[in-house]
């Protein structure tokens, strides 16, 4: 048996690649990000019973199982033409809120935190989760873990298990919440609301009081004037679980508002020869390339996009945090990619408040949890806001409910054009006259880490992260620099 070490020399397959092409002057002409692609999910699904989808799709993504579960469940409601009971909708939204609160907090503290809490220019050895803990203290670190534990317990109570839940049925949910369980969920919600405020306070202290960080957020290197998309409720407030899809233009004006079922009238996918990833764009504006502005159909999804596309948050503390964010950053819409981190915290607070609100709802322990489907299935579409953006599941079946066609538009795909633009813009700003600074990989990674993209995250292979390689080519196509992590 071989003993091996994974070090920078060990080339692992399935790595992400950033390719930068320089012009004659040695400045960045074009840059693109290529990521490993998982194949064959549609084929894998076809021929199966549609009811299997809420369980199967949880395995597509290692970090968004609950989002896929919920989009699939809603697609089944639509497929079987059955409206869930009022209590079932609330139970689903409760589970979904707990999931979003946990996911967002975890991302900010542990995964986005190294950029801000520790700082982009901090020594390499400290720019990781352990560095974050070193900076914020063990107590805060412990609280993150505790919040995660409690929110996952909510998922366990409702969904049967914290990952790969089994709660969703067409027309409802599989299990009622007991009074005893409600108490536990209320405690989790209270803990979440408190900790999300601590996290926002931390952002205040560490980021907003540091001029360099604020300059970085508000500067042009990481900004794009794009369209923004997100689900909103009847009052145009952010909603993760249900509502209509609203799109605002780069000036913040409502451009479109439509039901998830009409997504094909608004969203199209562009294909490029150099990658398997499809790039979503607004059909009625059109694909004009990897450019921003009102004439380009490129749009963005995920926390900042949702806030830009809404008129506010439906809970009081989150609304106050939302107002503070926009007043600090000069009003709506905010185009800075790095502000996704701040918006993520505002949303985490909303999700925690909503968890608590729903747990206190008298109907949440109702036993009226499912309406049985009676219609013949044909086609169903379900849309939710995954933590990483708008997620669409679209199924077609025969009259027995056996899948004949499956189309998923995942959040990262909706952001993929913008992610490439962010990589290119950062490369253009950082590379001058052939000088490629060593810190460039991190600065470019910061551009796309803010989106929290899903890159083949269903794979679990060691070392548990997607290796990334950056190659710079001169105007003759000769490789002049290679960096990797």
């Amino acid at each position: 048996m071989k003993k091996i070490t994974i070090d920078p020399i060990t080339r692992l397959e399935g790595h992400g690649k950033i390719e930068i092409f320089l012009n004659d002057e040695g400045n960045c002409e074009r840059a693109c990000l290529q990521i490993p692609e998982l194949r064959g999910f549609e084929k894998f699904s076809e021929g199966r019973a549609a009811e299997e989808m809420p369980r199967i799709t949880t395995m597509i993504c290692g970090v968004c199982p609950t989002a896929h579960h919920m989009a699939a469940t809603k697609a089944l409601d639509d497929l079987f033409k059955v409206e869930p009971t009022s209590a079932a909708k609330k139970i689903r939204e409760l589970m979904y809120s707990a999931f979003t609160a946990e996911d967002h907090i975890l991302h900010f503290i542990f995964l986005g935190g190294p950029d801000f809490v520790v700082g982009p220019t901090a020594p390499v050895a400290e720019r990781n989760v352990l560095g974050v803990i070193g900076k914020v203290g063990l107590e805060v670190g412990g609280k993150v873990i505790e919040m995660r534990k409690r929110m996952r317990n909510v998922l366990r109570i409702i969904g049967g298990k914290p990952v790969m839940p089994t709660a969703g049925l067409p027309g409802g949910v599989s299990k009622q919440i007991t009074e005893e369980e409600r108490k536990t969920i209320i405690e989790a919600g209270e803990y979440g609301v408190e900790f999300c405020q601590v996290a926002l306070g931390l952002f205040d202290d560490v980021v907003l009081k540091n001029k360099d960080y604020v300059d970085l957020i508000t500067g042009d290197v990481y900004a794009h004037k794009t369209y923004y998309m997100g689900l909103v409720d009847d009052n145009n407030k952010v909603n993760f679980y249900d509502g209509q899809i609203r799109v605002v233009d780069p000036d913040g004006k409502e451009y479109a508002k439509f039901k998830g079922q009409d997504y094909l009238d608004h969203i199209r996918e562009h294909v490029e020869p150099w990658t398997y990833v499809r790039f979503s764009y607004l059909k009625n504006v059109g694909w004009k390339g990897f450019v921003d502005g009102k004439e380009s159909g490129v749009f963005r999804v995920a926390p900042l996009a949702r806030l830009n596309a809404s008129d506010g948050m439906a809970t009081p503390l989150a609304q106050a945090a939302y107002e503070k964010m926009y007043s600090t950053l000069g009003g709506k819409p905010v185009h800075s990619t790095l502000a996704f981190h701040w918006a993520r915290l505002v949303e985490a607070l909303y999700a925690a408040e909503r968890t608590l609100e729903l747990a206190n709802d008298p109907e949440i322990t109702s036993d009226d949890i499912v309406n049985l489907p009676t219609e013949t299935p044909k086609e169903g579409i379900g849309v939710v806001e995954a933590p990483r953006g708008t997620l669409i599941h679209h199924y077609q079946t025969d009259e027995r409910g056996i899948l004949t066609k499956v189309n998923l538009i995942v959040a990262t795909q909706n952001n993929s054009a913008a992610i490439n633009m962010s990589v290119e813009k950062a490369a253009k700003a950082l590379i001058k006259n052939g000088d490629v600074p060593d810190g460039i990989l991190n600065m470019i990674e910061m551009a796309f880490r803010a989106y929290d993209p899903c890159h083949a995250c269903a794979t679990h292979s060691l070392p548990g992260r997607t290796p990334l390689e950056l190659s710079v080519y001169d105007s003759r196509g000769v490789l002049v620099k290679k960096l990797e992590r």
Binding site: I145, C457, H460, S461
Partner: protein
């Protein structure tokens, strides 16, 4: 010694499931050893492994150089992140371990990590490739021998 064998993988991503398949083979073989399979990664390892003295991890790897089904043994230190950042989503096992230690969790003092070279971990499918399927019993035997599992426990008849 309280021992946990933990198989990692995605059950619907062809060879990515190998850790789970091997865990399934080992489950119930040794009455004193807990065997679990998980599709989670990163921080969730803390939920699984705390409170055990010894941990045996079985996962997949794709170096592209080995023969599919070839078994490697790694140390926790071998999984250190290359530089400053782990992936944007998950913590790698080594970092999760350090975090657990820092937070004062009872982490296992002995850790063995096995990685199986895989052929295809990017196509959705419930079965491993034939090369890996054929290797499973051999790999199970290698791990039992290397970890001297027969000597510490009585195998199920």
């Amino acid at each position: 010694m309280k021992t946990l064998i933990l198989g990692f993988g995605n059950p619907i991503l062809t060879d990515d499931a190998i850790g789970i398949r091997i865990a399934e083979e080992l489950e119930g073989e040794f009455p004193d050893i807990t065997v679990e399979a998980t599709s989670e990664a990163g921080l969730s390892i803390l939920d699984e492994v705390t409170g055990y003295d010894k941990l045996v991890i079985i996962d997949s790897i794709k170096t592209g150089k080995g023969r599919p089904g070839e078994l490697y043994k790694l140390e926790l230190e071998d999984l250190k992140p290359r530089s400053d950042f782990s992936s944007s989503h998950g913590l790698d096992i080594a970092t999760a371990f350090k975090l657990g230690e820092k937070l004062g969790y009872p982490m296992p003092s002995q850790v063995s990590i096995y990685a199986v070279e895989v052929k295809d971990n990017t196509t959705f499918g419930e079965e491993c490739t034939p090369e890996l399927k054929q290797s499973i019993s051999l790999i199970v035997g290698q791990i039992i021998k290397e970890e001297r599992l027969c000597q510490t426990s009585s195998p199920k008849s």
